[in-house]
């Protein structure tokens, strides 16, 4: 097998990436395949916490059979480049749920890229991603939802919110819909904001030092992303890593 060529910026899915960092690990490992059999429920998570200066690319190819469900939780916080991609195909009466957080500072480039295909009728998907970016970090969510011609009654949503701690940080949010059926519901929302200055002053007036106040607001911003992680140990690990990263960011 010949190695694929290193991607360029012309490739939409790599447009905001750190191509120099990618070059250091090219070719990236083969994707991880997850096949969820008919009627089954699968739960997966990834804590992407590569070392400083490292590049990490995690590709997932997920197939969810009829009547099955896949829940994926991702916390993307480590490395010079941290890129997590999902290529998902959903069967009839099946569901895919992605809950993710991107927390970046320094010169980090952190990305979540999704391509979710509703291949058959009566399937649902939900994607919730919260990003907090400081200093010169770039956080990107590129998510396409593709609804096949006969995938009627598809119900899909994307909720993407980013918070910038510094004017030098960048958030990219690009939801994309490609719909070939006529009876579908696809909702998507994307916002980019900053910490509420009025709230910060209110908290200061009650005695909270700036770091405590910011951390509390940021925790509330990402709260909920890991609420429904079933395994308590995994949940604790993800939350602890998220809080440690937030405290380092403020």
């Amino acid at each position: 097998m010949t190695a694929l060529a290193i991607p360029t910026r012309k490739d939409e899915a790599w447009r905001y990436s750190d191509l120099e960092a990618v070059a250091t690990i090219w070719p990236v490992p083969a994707p991880t395949r997850i096949d969820v059999a008919e009627g089954e429920t699968a739960r997966h998570h990834l804590l992407q916490d590569a070392g400083e200066g490292a590049a990490a690319v995690h590709d997932y190819v997920i197939t969810i059979a009829d009547g099955a469900r896949c829940d994926f939780h991702v916390l993307n916080i480590g490395g010079k480049l941290g890129r997590v991609t999902f290529t998902v195909t959903i069967g009839s009466n099946a569901h895919f749920e992605l809950n993710g957080a991107i927390l970046g500072g320094g010169d980090q480039t952190l990305e979540i890229i999704t391509s979710v295909t509703h291949a058959r009728p009566d399937s649902t998907s939900g994607q919730t991603v919260r990003s907090i970016l400081g200093q010169r970090a770039t956080g990107s969510y590129l998510g396409s939802i593709n609804v096949a011609r006969d995938a009627q009654r598809t119900d899909a949503f994307q909720s993407i919110k980013a918070m910038l701690l510094d004017r030098t940080a960048t958030a990219n949010a690009k939801p994309e819909l490609e719909i070939f059926a006529d009876d579908v519901k696809c909702a998507h929302g994307a916002t980019v904001g900053e910490l509420d200055k009025a709230a910060l002053f209110y908290m200061a007036s009650r005695g909270m030092d700036p770091a405590t106040a910011k951390t509390l607001l940021l925790r509330s911003f990402v709260a909920g992303v890991f609420d429904d992680v079933a395994d308590e140990a995994v949940k604790d690990a993800l939350e602890a890593a998220a809080i440690a990263k937030l405290e380092a960011l403020v």
Partner: protein, 248 residues
């Protein structure tokens, strides 16, 4: 406790306070009244240290220290409490979490031991009870979905828990009906009417002063205190109007 001397300030380059002086001693309750635009809220925010409220001259000494040398959170730890005319909503942060972080931040700054969960809940229950506020309300996000009256009562619960030396209450009576006014007034008395504490009430109307009796009343107009007196001054203002009293 608080000495303000010839204070001037600017907001976005516009002069608001123009040489304001005021002395508040422990055990005293002062009321500042005045027409819209006189600088009442500006005084409160300037003492609290709100960004963009730039001090251009004069001094404020709080418990022997320069207030303006301190950041807003340091002023709170030193014992200053600012009651907001429009309390800020903070979605996603519960009142209990907000107050515990606030109180423990203050205690850390003063070198005191932090309260643990159980100790804090006990304190919160006691103070909420004083203001007739359900503990369930304190589990909800800060001020989100609260009515005007609930926000003001929640502010007084905050004051009770944080136990300041000096409370500057900016139009705490606005948006309150008579019943809520009574409860809030009783709360202020219970928490703050003590020999080692003081209150600065900022208000448009006499009615709050029926429940929280001031020792001194000041009239603020065009950025300065133009007249001071006892409680009778508030009644005179109510009767005659600001224009009359200020001109006299």
């Amino acid at each position: 406790m608080l000495t303000i001397d010839n204070l001037t300030n600017e907001i976005d380059g516009k002069a608001i306070l123009k040489g304001l002086s005021l002395q508040i001693n422990a055990g005293e309750i002062h009321a500042i009244m005045g027409p819209n635009g006189a600088g009442k809220s500006t005084l409160a925010y300037t003492l609290g240290g709100r960004p963009n409220y730039d001090v251009t001259g004069g001094t404020a000494t709080f418990e022997g220290e320069d207030l303006f040398e301190k950041d807003p959170h340091e002023r709170a730890a030193a014992g200053l409490f600012l009651g907001f005319q429009y309390p800020v909503e903070i979605p996603g942060v519960s009142n209990l979490q907000f107050l515990r972080e606030s109180l423990n931040s203050q205690r850390r700054a003063r070198g005191e031991k932090e309260l643990n969960g159980g100790e804090f809940i006990k304190l919160a229950k006691e103070k909420a009870g004083l203001l007739g506020l359900d503990m369930e309300m304190l589990k909800r996000p800060v001020n989100v979905g609260f009515s005007g009256g609930e926000k003001k009562r929640a502010e007084m619960v905050q004051m009770g828990i944080l136990d300041p030396k000096l409370a500057i209450l900016d139009e705490t009576d606005s948006g309150l009906d008579i019943d809520a006014l009574k409860i809030v007034g009783a709360g202020i008395n219970a928490i703050m009417r003590k020999p080692d504490k003081a209150v600065l009430l900022i208000t448009h109307y006499q009615r709050l002063l029926d429940y929280v009796k001031p020792d001194f009343v000041h009239v603020l107009a065009a950025g300065r205190i133009v007249k001071s007196g006892g409680p009778e001054l508030a009644l005179e203002l109510e009767r005659e109007g600001y224009a009359e009293v200020v001109a006299a």
